[in-house]
Symmetry: D2
Subunit: 338 residues, 4 copies
């Protein structure tokens, strides 16, 4: 039986570590190449001691072409910019690609430039890349050679919002998303703001009005619903390793109360394996280390609140990527994820 040969570009970070752990449990995946920009070819267990005895592989300082030769599917865990540089070569080399960066999530290069303050390196692909949210783009993912894996915050916002927005049950122009994330969301590069004694025992908002997931949320909601929503998005840094909680304040249209909202959510996600519409208030711990996104709705005065919880590294990143991988290859969608 042939297994899918997997390459991981940029394997030193947290999303790559979670991805490797998931793939080690996946019966159809064989990790064939890992890369790092370091010269000295570290063993994967030197970079991630968790993997000691579980994966016997050195990280290579390979370019995309070399990775494509050794892989059927490449998970590209490079930062934005670097991803758009590597992806064309990966695809030209015959690999299918799931990209973790923001490079292929937006509709157009102008929006990219405005929010990322850089020229896009592969602008002609924008507008045609499939967004890797299987709950809404499953068919396109099946056929795709390049999938843009969603941002962690956008998944937590789009899953609850899309059904209501699509059904015309909430106002597109009055959406406030207040999200809270664990510190792994900030990556693995040491910086003062993520130094333990700086962020432990503290909570703060950051990127107020300027976080780059803002246009991703509104553009993808636009693709799904045909409407052009306007969102205010405020992320927070919470002293914990992982998890995202989003509380969304929407304005109901017509008779949309909590019951109607719950019904639409339940119907929409009835056969989805990884969306749980729950009656209780979600806590990130309920979804920790899983690929689930828990969602509920509440009417408070004249607002409809949508609340979601997920693991930022799993449903918000690497679990979603494995789910996409399963869809792309026709494996049962929960393979390696439950």
């Amino acid at each position: 039986m042939f297994m899918v040969r997997i390459g991981i570009l940029g394997a030193t970070g947290y999303t790559a570590l979670e991805l490797i752990k998931l793939l080690l449990r996946h019966p159809e995946a064989e990790i064939s190449v890992l890369t790092t920009r370091q010269e000295e070819r570290p063993h994967v267990s030197e970079v991630h001691p968790q993997l000691n005895g579980r994966l016997d592989l050195r990280m290579e300082n390979f370019g995309p072409r070399q990775v494509a030769e050794r892989s059927d599917l490449v998970f590209c865990c490079l930062p934005h910019g670097a991803a758009a540089e590597a992806t064309p070569e990966l695809l030209a080399g015959g690999a299918r690609v799931i990209d973790f960066s923001a490079d292929y999530r937006l509709n157009d290069a102008d929006t990219f430039r405005q929010w990322y303050h850089a020229e896009h390196l592969d602008p002609q692909r924008l507008g045609n890349v499939v967004y890797g949210l299987p709950e809404w783009f499953r068919k396109q993912i099946q056929e795709a050679d390049l999938v843009a894996n969603p941002g962690c915050y956008p998944t937590s916002a789009i899953l609850p919002l899309a059904p209501l927005l699509k059904g015309g049950l909430i106002e597109p122009q009055d959406i406030i998303i207040d999200s809270k994330s664990g510190v792994t969301g900030a990556g693995r590069t040491p910086k003062l703001g993520f130094h333990y004694p700086e962020c432990n025992e503290s909570i703060s908002a950051y990127g107020v009005g300027s976080h780059r997931h803002t246009p991703e949320i509104s553009q993808i909601l636009g693709r799904i619903t045909g409407r052009d929503p306007q969102v205010i998005f405020t992320p927070h840094l919470v002293p914990m390793d992982r998890g995202i909680l989003s509380v969304i304040y929407a304005r109901p249209r017509g008779q949309c109360d909590q019951g109607a909202a719950m019904e639409v959510l339940r119907e929409t996600y009835a056969s989805e394996p990884f969306v749980r519409v729950v009656d209780h208030l979600p806590a990130t711990k309920h979804t920790s280390l899983t690929n689930y996104c828990d969602i509920t709705a509440r009417t408070v005065q004249d607002r409809l609140l949508l609340i979601s919880a997920e693991d930022n590294l799993i449903k918000g990143a690497s679990g979603a990527a494995v789910q996409n991988f399963n869809v792309m290859y026709g494996f049962p969608e929960t393979t390696g994820l439950v």
Copy 2:
């Protein structure tokens, strides 16, 4: 020189511990009596090992009358209900009272019944009790025999909102308050939800649409501004000991942008010793263990965001109480607090 004799009713919790620590540094205060409902008269250092060698006192199982006899000022740290039962006796016994519970914060017994699901035991005082937020009620506090010490969340919401609401710069009917608190806010009684492994590494919203600080925020804002604001208030439990961060989504009126909002905030609080209007985004750690509330404003699209940080046990409870004590006795307002 005579010191003010201090009684603390209900001295086993976190707010009482913080209060004791502050009063031990206060040159005008002498802690004369601490109570607990336990029979065995524990030494204060058995209940609070932090106080070993700092305060040599047993806790007494005294009623309010006995406490009033031994105190000039009583800090009442009893839960709501119990506070309204004790307070009339304390006052009748000649003590001045700063009450930490919610019993004397609301305008009327009906609102109390609606949100606390109980009959108020001292309803005739409601409507006449001074709210202990010196930034807005300093004069009344000076004269008061009974001060209702503010709730932790309300302080974090009222301080940023009041100047803008009073100035007519934001809409009173469209205010969303998304607040995040450390676990000490839940008190010291062990419960599953506050068991370490349940709330560590997790964030969740709670009391959505039903938290009892909601009417306190709107009624006090009403007293200050003469308007009748409607607020949506969503509290969260954050895995940390202390701190409250509130992000408030307001709708500006007229030309009120970030600059105008900052100017009003700066002017309002220019001579306040414990409100810091800052340009950067506040983090709870910046205010930890202090009596400061840090506030900033941001325009995001068509909204004005107000963000505040405070220590829930200090500016949100015991520090505010000491500040009220200073005002009531004519001591410099920062005594024991800086």
Copy 3:
């Protein structure tokens, strides 16, 4: 194909939750019955919201006989005392049993009485029950109907100590074990000592000289090595959910330095799937959520230090139990665990 029907007695705690999560991934296990002493038959997802959508079962208030009827293998997660009450009935009912409590770990009822301050309810079995540490008792586990699953601390101490003690490389009478555990080790019952703000941001030793794992460590080391070691054991409570780190101070005999110790450890555990002898200093995070125990050795002056890390709920409890289950039924030992 027939799956093993699994019963779990006492399914509301943390070890049961971890066990269920592991068994849901185990291809040979079918969870058939869960019990709780509560009357109202809660759905498992009400007790453990993590399991929402993953296991559709109500918890039953069944006695051991009813559980035995519905199970081939019972994991008994009851507290000590209750376990020795239920186990004879479970066995009489034809079930095989893996007991998580301390009831069947010790050699004799006298030692039990001395450390647990209670009469043993099933004393005649003591001395004949297999200790479920597959690394040392694999053959006996294969045949056993009753397996005493090891304590979390003992596993972290016995695995590094046994090879050296057996080889006569360290003094049996001079062993100090300084262990540090996350708070899940204290169980799920709310108590003041495990209330979040009490144990967060604090570390303390507890049970100094009196912790009940002390005789378990020395008796099992005695069984393995034929020697009669004396150990001093000091556990600590660390502000984290999970993980145990043990630092063991031993006195080398003869020429046993770090190199010799590492060689013996490596040889002993060369073919063990879940013991990793590592050169670097272990951190609990490296083993978190896995069934691995990481071990290293260091010579410091005239002492040999052995350092081990494990996840207290996995290798220290539920993972070990699944490993025992695999051994008992002849499944590959890593099934469901990697």
Copy 4:
């Protein structure tokens, strides 16, 4: 009335922040100059937002001579090496100095070279510098122009050990110190090992057999007791901001049991304001944010255990420094510290 003009060299770290906070409460101290090696003269509140509104001073890029001109007393918070470079100039400039680094703590340049792998830059002073532990060197501190402020771990080990070692109650050659510290002990420079998601939810030993506080502990114990103890010292990194817990395994001599040990500890520290000999097991939280060191003793089998808790940044650093300052200037020793 004249206040002591205080200079702080190297004011960007955690010990400097704590020192500033303590000095702001000190009635005899006036902070006159803060330095950083940065060029741009940041306001102290840019580096430490906690100090917003509490200290209005820019940090200067001054050399020691300039600092000495502006200060009566300099707290030198530079790293080792840099401290020995600056101190001779500070002293020559007429300032008294309390040095936070390890440069002046050891007896001789050889030991320094062996443990710090560098040549000492001011070797002739070694052997004559007063060690700033007032409990044992109060008289010398009174007269000193240069005081070596103790290391955080050494204070936690020396305070419990010194009385027993001096009294000949424990063996000098068989002392094991197992210490656990919060992450502020590692300083404020971002590194992977102190990146939040790396050290959160994890505990590990580090510097096993090689930590530089080892010779400091044994040499200072030697100075105090006239004996030449040998210590094994193992530090750990604990996921919390602050606090050190040390568990010390000593071998009693003659009839020294727990009772005798407690009596000696109590007698020794009876009039010390900041050492609390307690019956219960200390927790770091009991000493958090205070200048106390809590100590207890336990007999376990043939060992005497000494357990201490302190705040690593206060009694382990900046609080001790203020205590030394008080002793040097003849102020009541608790000034600014209670």
